[in-house]
């Protein structure tokens, strides 16, 4: 079966990254560093012990979000889990705290009631993202791992996850709208820069969810079916 993705294993990794700088995020989440010279995607992946098909499935899906891969690409769930853990760490440990810091700087007076309400909104949002991701890390991912290892005997299924998987970026969209419509500030470079970050982060969170919904869920569903066949 031909892989119809945009990039394949024999393409040069540096070409991929220079054409699509956002793929830097994907590289670091897979734990891949820079400096890959002329190596192909496959070579770089095996240098870092990353499953090449999983790497390609994620990059190609993110590059062409129109394409719905059918059948679900062969991925290695363990590699994908590592990616997702790192992605969570990126949002909770780096990206969202960074936005909060810049937001506090831009808003100024920390005792102003409006500024406090804006920060409180943002903090509530981050709490939601955190509990969303904690649930995945404490319930879904361990479930997936025990599935892979073939020693799961509970009642949980991945459908339970996919049916309740909310779009974690939706409230960030609302936040952006509120700032644009109601925050009475003069346009400034600093404020624009925070808004750009929020726009980008909203997209990144949507992409992150897409990876879970389109790659993780189908892969685990397949695993569940083969498990059912064996038992």
């Amino acid at each position: 079966m031909l892989n119809k993705g945009i990039y394949d294993a024999d393409d040069s990794m540096s070409l991929l990254v220079s054409n699509h700088y956002r793929m830097l995020l994907v590289l670091s989440r897979f734990g891949i560093g820079l400096g890959f010279a002329e190596k192909t995607i496959d070579e770089v992946c095996s240098d870092y012990g990353v499953d090449t098909q999983t790497f390609l499935a994620v990059t190609n899906m993110l590059l062409d979000d129109e394409c719905v891969p059918l059948p679900a690409p062969e991925i290695c769930p363990r590699s994908l889990l590592a990616y997702l853990y790192n992605s969570h760490e990126y949002f909770l440990g780096f990206r969202l705290p960074g936005i909060r810091r810049d937001l506090v700087d831009v808003l100024g007076d920390p005792d102003d009631e409006l500024n406090r309400a804006v920060i409180r909104y943002f903090d509530e949002y981050v709490d939601q993202v955190r509990s969303h991701m904690r649930y995945e890390e404490e319930t879904v991912f361990p479930y997936v791992l025990s599935r892979i290892e073939g020693n799961y005997c509970g009642e949980y299924t991945i459908d339970e996850f996919s049916e309740n998987h909310d779009q974690v970026e939706a409230r960030l969209t609302e936040f952006k709208q509120i700032l644009i419509r109601y925050y009475p500030a003069e346009g400034s470079n600093e404020l624009n820069s925070v808004l750009f970050d929020i726009f980008n982060c909203e997209n990144d969170l949507a992409s992150h969810n897409l990876v879970e919904n389109r790659l993780l869920v189908p892969a685990i569903r397949k695993l569940e079916e083969s498990w059912k066949g064996n038992s």
Binding site: E66, V68, E113, A117, R120, A170, R171, I178, Y182, Y183
Partner: protein
């Protein structure tokens, strides 16, 4: 939070229909639940089950039956979108709420559909808030429950809930934290009254 939008696509060509399904699969911030119909009969069977927000239909398939469909559409904000696959009489397209062409880009198509979803069904959106609604916001921001708001404003809980729903639609704000920001900016509350502040 993001809303589910039920869409049915009526088009006889698999290629075109699947293409639309794929494009509308990403209707950020909405979640599209898409059904497909390859002919008029399948469409009417599906419509009988009801619940659709948007009906996309090839204008050649709709033909003169469009008027009938629109009359029968269950009372509610069902929108009809004409899918233009050939040169069409503009008079025909006028009977639709919107039209998309085979040569529209994916973004153009999504934009048209989102505009339709956002368009108010009874002009409630972007109207100014009524005095009552402002009072309800002030109460919500103070951290009161629906029951408490009902007691203070001498309304039924049911009415309070209706007010809250209308406020969300008008402002497109769905969280208390968001309403707090709105209330402060528009001076609907005394600052010391805000809960948790």
């Amino acid at each position: 939070m993001s809303r589910n939008v039920k869409i049915i696509i009526t088009e006889s060509s698999d290629v075109i229909r699947r293409g639309l399904v794929s494009i509308l699969g990403r209707l950020h911030p909405f979640h599209a639940e898409i059904s497909e119909a390859s002919d008029f009969e399948t469409l009417t069977t599906s419509l009988a089950r009801g619940g659709f927000d948007i009906i996309i239909i090839n204008q050649m398939i709709a033909g003169p039956q469009l008027k009938q469909l629109q009359k029968e559409a269950p009372a509610g904000p069902v929108k009809f979108v004409g899918l233009q696959t050939s040169l069409a009489d503009s008079a025909v397209l006028r009977s639709f709420d919107a039209s998309i062409s085979l040569y529209d880009s994916a973004d153009q198509i999504r934009e048209k559909i989102i505009k339709l979803i956002r368009r108010p069904d009874s002009d409630t959106r972007h109207q100014t808030l009524s005095q009552r609604e402002k009072e309800v916001i002030a109460c919500v921001v103070k951290g009161m429950t629906n029951k408490q708001i009902a007691d203070v404003l001498c309304l039924s809980t049911h009415t309070v809930i209706t007010h809250r729903r209308n406020i969300s639609t008008k402002l497109d704000i769905h969280s208390t934290a968001g309403l707090t920001i709105y209330a402060i900016v528009n001076k609907l509350v005394e600052l010391e009254e805000i809960s948790g502040g």
